[in-house]
Amino acid sequence: MTDTSDRLVNMAQIMNTGSPQAVALGLRTLEIGPGRVVMTAPYREDLIGNPSTGVIAGGVVTTMLDHASGQAVYAALDSPDAVATLDLRIDYMRRAEPGRDLFVEAHCYRVTHAIAFVRAIAYDADKTDPVATAQSAFMLNSSAGRPAGANLKPPAAQSKSAR
């Protein structure tokens, strides 16, 4: 393994185990490289979004797409930096098959000094037959000097601050 791939694998591990929502969904990174990531989440009955069909909730797909896209941005940066989703657009092609694990492949294809652009595909078996596709923009250096725990402060001190 090169230093870069070691660094990216470690970063993915930290991003997945350090994020309570990623842990709650069981998100794992299968592959990571510069600007690219493949993630998976297991099918679970407690994540069903339509009880009459057993199909997993669209929200799970949304969260996976957001998480994997953010991770692809990290994987495209030379050094760690706080990033935040600015916008995320998702097209749902078809419902996921009940019982199948979900996969997301995300590609951060462009980074400017302030913004990173990402495309992602969600699928359950075959990448050429996607469940959903996504396009998103992320803000770089989104913390802009805000310290850890900044969101715990009362709102008056925070309401006018930049995101």
């Binding site: 929502q21 949304t62 935040a84 900044a150 969101n151």
Partner: protein, 138 residues
Amino acid sequence: MSEATDRIVAAVRDLPYARFLGVEVVFSGDEMTAVLPFAEHLIGNPVLPAIHGGVLGAFMEITAIAQLSALQPAERLPRTIDISMEYLRSGRPLTTYARAQVKKVGRRVSNVHVEAWQEQRDAPIAFLRGHFLADPRD
């Protein structure tokens, strides 16, 4: 309206994924508010900490579908065609609220806008716009 609203409240309560997030809906007359009490497992960024952007998107999508179901009862739940989310402020570790406006109810496709906020109604944290397919066949 109360029979329809009771049905929606029960449908959200019985939805496994809504229970996983902790989403509830409350009605004031025909106006619906969705409520997402803060919980540790909703956090995406543990440093700030901030609620996961995907969770906020999921919460707003549930809000849209619930509001649409209240207006247009059908055998099957509406299915999401596409959604677009905009994030204005990070979600702080507080209760989040959302309300949906159904901009058009079509025979097949409806257009819904959702706004999410926390302590201040006039300082929204996120928006969702989406198209939803009525009574999907497959």
